[in-house]
Amino acid sequence: MKTQIPLLICLVAGLFMGLQYFIPAALPVYNRVNDYIQVVTAFSLVLGVVNLIHRHIGRMRPSGPQRRRHRDWPFSLAALVGLVVMLFAGFGTQRGPIFQSLFNSILLPVQSTMFALLAFYLASAAFRAFRVRSVDAVVLLVSAVVVMVGRLDDGGALGIPWLSRQILNGPNLVAKRAIILGVGLGMAATALKVVLGLERSYLGSGKE
């Protein structure tokens, strides 16, 4: 029963969601199922927050034979303080000026900075690793330089923007289409296996 009921739910839900596309009369049920999915998603968000709190409190609590805190416990404290402050700012002020100021002044610059660091690593890596060691590497390097210049406002006289578009619309497109088709077929096959109960890894090992 522990396995059969989830498999049955999966079979019915999978078949219904596949077939409803062709049955207009199934629309009310389809809408209801979408509501259920949103409710489940909302629960998963709550579960995520609970998991986050549990994990970081665990790091802050002294443990082990020497009763020592995890060495990164101040970061856990910062994470929890951030969570509580944003929760109160969000719920308490109806996402008013305090919430928006915290978002604009802290989260926005911090995340942007993290992403901006990528440019530094990229520049350093390009200098050290982009070497013309083989014909393939030369093709890759020339394509990269053409696409990089193609993203700028220069090179029109040399036809670089045109060449950049040809690379994107030619070799890139062919490769991407092949990947998209492959992934699509793979997804359809996996979905079918899950619906028919041939793929059961989502049920867990059953040992817990």
């Binding site: 999915i37 996402r95 440019a119 993203r151």
Partner: protein
């Protein structure tokens, strides 16, 4: 010291020097009007502009989905600002939403939309509205195909949807002339796959440059009607609305940084080839 010795030293150049140069190349052009930028509007950007321009004034709204987080804001917020300026200048209504999984696009939209609306004196809930974030992007997209009001029962600020004048005539995608998703993740692909294919909605995209290569097949197949790609796309749209902003300023930085990286690649390869020949 011979030239080859110099090139050998170049091969082991301290990465901090590269970092410092990159910092200067990124920051200085952004705040100075140099180097000059001469944008030519690409077909993808023009298509997006034309699709939005064709929306009747004071009619059904363009849905603008802020599907990105602060990491992509440098590229996508200039697009949002330019598109909003275009819409508000032409009295095209805008309905903002956010479906990016972390929900942080909502925070960005809540800053950008009121600021640009104030520039043009556009009234909240009449000329524009921001409905906030919904988790589970794909399901939210499908729900909007049946009932917008059920998907967003209140706006971001807690106002009931029935009290929002802009939403009066909106039932589902049939009343939406186009959706523009600003995205740096696979959310853009979901917009094409679900609302685009199932409900026949006109999908426009504004993407981070790195994501353009992934989405180009959908533009070429006609499933996406217009596409803004990276800072270049933002700068092109700014040119179309005759309001150069942070997209154009960012293009200056991008231009200098790209040339710096290309120069480093060339120098690195010259040094590599020269020293390789010597070792033989």
């Amino acid at each position: 010291m011979t030239t080859v010795d110099l090139l050998q030293r170049l091969l082991v150049l301290d990465r901090r020097i590269i970092y410092a140069l990159l910092l200067v190349c990124a920051v200085v052009p952004f705040y100075m009007n140099w180097p000059p930028i001469k944008m030519e509007v690409s077909k993808e950007t023009q298509d997006a502009y034309d699709a939005i321009d064709a929306i009747p004034p004071d009619g059904n709204p363009l849905v603008l989905s802020f599907d990105y987080d602060p990491a992509s804001a440098a590229e996508l917020t200039p697009m949002a600002e330019a598109v909003l300026r275009h819409c508000f200048a032409k009295k095209i209504r805008v309905l903002g939403i956010s479906l990016q999984y972390s929900g942080q696009g909502a925070g960005i939209a809540a800053e950008v939309m009121p600021r640009i609306a104030r520039e043009f004196g556009r009234e909240q809930n009449v000329d524009w509205a921001f409905m906030g974030f919904q988790p589970n992007a794909v399901v939210a997209m499908l729900q909007m195909g049946e009932d917008f009001k059920k998907t967003f029962p209140t706006d971001y600020y807690g106002t009931a949807v029935d009290k929002i004048a802009l939403m009066e005539n909106i039932q589902n995608y049939d009343q939406v002339p186009a959706v523009l998703t600003l995205a740096g993740t696979a959310v853009a692909e979901s917009w094409v796959t679900y609302p685009g294919m199932r409900y026949g909605v006109t999908i426009l995209t504004g993407l981070t440059a790195v994501y353009v290569a992934d989405i180009v097949p959908f533009y070429q197949s006609g499933q996406i009607k217009g596409m803004l790609g990276g800072l270049k796309g933002a700068a092109e749209y700014e040119k179309l609305v005759a309001h150069p902003g942070s997209g154009t300023a960012g293009m200056r930085s991008q231009k200098v940084v790209h040339y710096m990286i290309i120069l480093f690649i060339i120098l690195g390869n010259i040094a590599y080839l020269a020293t390789r020949g010597r070792s033989r």
